[in-house]
Symmetry: C2
Subunit: 183 residues, 2 copies
DNA sequence: TGTACATCAGTGAACGCGCGTTCACTGATGTAC
DNA sequence: TGTACATCAGTGAACGCGCGTTCACTGATGTAC
């Protein structure tokens, strides 16, 4: 086996991993096909075989993000204690530990929103949200059931966005959140 | 007076206006010094005299945005009826009618956050928010007074962000919001 | 009132950069027979 | 078991694009005297 085989073997996964690293380290505006290829050590024309273009790669990345998001939320929802609070904590935790990915996931402009896998992954995540948060099932919207669910979602999502924009205090912020979720 | 005088006269204002138009029409990623200069019909090196670099221009633009934001919020806060609800409506209204500017204002990465004017303008806007929203003055944080204020802010901000990302239904969304603000 | 001069605002050409895409190619793999 | 061939995955050079910055310049304005 030569030191560097012509075929990578798992280039697709390697590209996604590198893309996520760049996303967290440098942000979305620094994420390019060339930068990703460079990080993996491959020709910058290679990603086209796996993702088509940059939008395709970003969409796959966001899809994987939503899958992981859904798993985290589901785990929180079935944990002991108040499931709504646990859900909120998990939501914020996800945004805090992988802000680049989180922001990408909610940046529809750069994503292929009509992608089937992407849509399914987002629906999966939001299903947990609306199921757990709809403690007062008053409405029957397709997107979100009930005002309580929407309000909870907005509250926790707004918290994440303000936090990631540096508009909230650093450490006591999470402590505060727990209190608000009481309401 | 010649058809096109050498000196523009009000280039600074014209550049800002053009920048805002591009921001709303094409988004932040299309906003460049060259695009702005092109729109005004001026050399692309000209903006440097007024703003230094792109970051400087964006910061001024965001500062003006926060000033207008503060005025809208203040007007809502002093209107008849429930001030907290009016404030929420004004917040969403601002984000809805000028999404590009709103997103720029909450995109610290591209702004000079340490700019004095910018900081003052944001503080001005947030002051109205915390004053009105702090119906239950339990805390004494520097940024936001009380849990109620923070919760209201997160709620309405999250609503805006989800709305601008196309994650909420189109028209009935605003109607729903009014109900949630009851809580 | 007039003149000299400093300063300011805008020009336009040039530079280098990183990007996405294209294209003919080559190495490797798998499959049909 | 072996051979031919199609397909796939990655290469590397080339192209054109838009960008920010720099620089010597020029037109216009204002100020000192």
């Amino acid at each position: 086996m030569p030191a560097r085989p012509y075929h990578h073997g798992a280039l697709r996964a390697a590209l996604l991993e590198a893309a996520e690293q760049i996303l967290e380290r440098d942000g979305l505006d620094q994420l390019s096909l060339r930068a990703i290829s460079r990080a993996v050590g491959v020709s910058h024309a290679a990603p086209a075989h796996h993702f088509g273009d940059l939008r395709g790669l970003l969409t796959v990345l966001a899809t994987l993000g939503f899958r992981r998001f859904a798993i985290s939320l589901e785990a929180a929802a079935t944990s002991a204690g108040d499931p709504l609070r646990a859900l909120g904590r998990a939501y914020v935790q996800f945004a805090r530990t992988q802000p680049g990915l989180f922001l990408l996931m909610f940046h529809h402009k750069v994503l292929a929103g009509d992608d089937a896998d992407f849509q399914q992954a987002t629906a999966e995540a939001f299903a947990t949200l609306s199921r757990v948060a709809a403690v007062s099932p008053l409405g029957t919207d397709t997107a979100v059931r009930g005002r309580g669910a929407l309000a909870s979602w907005c509250l926790v999502h707004g918290f994440c966005m303000l936090m990631l924009d540096g508009r909230l205090p650093s450490q006591p912020g999470l402590d505060l959140l727990l209190e608000e979720l009481l309401a």
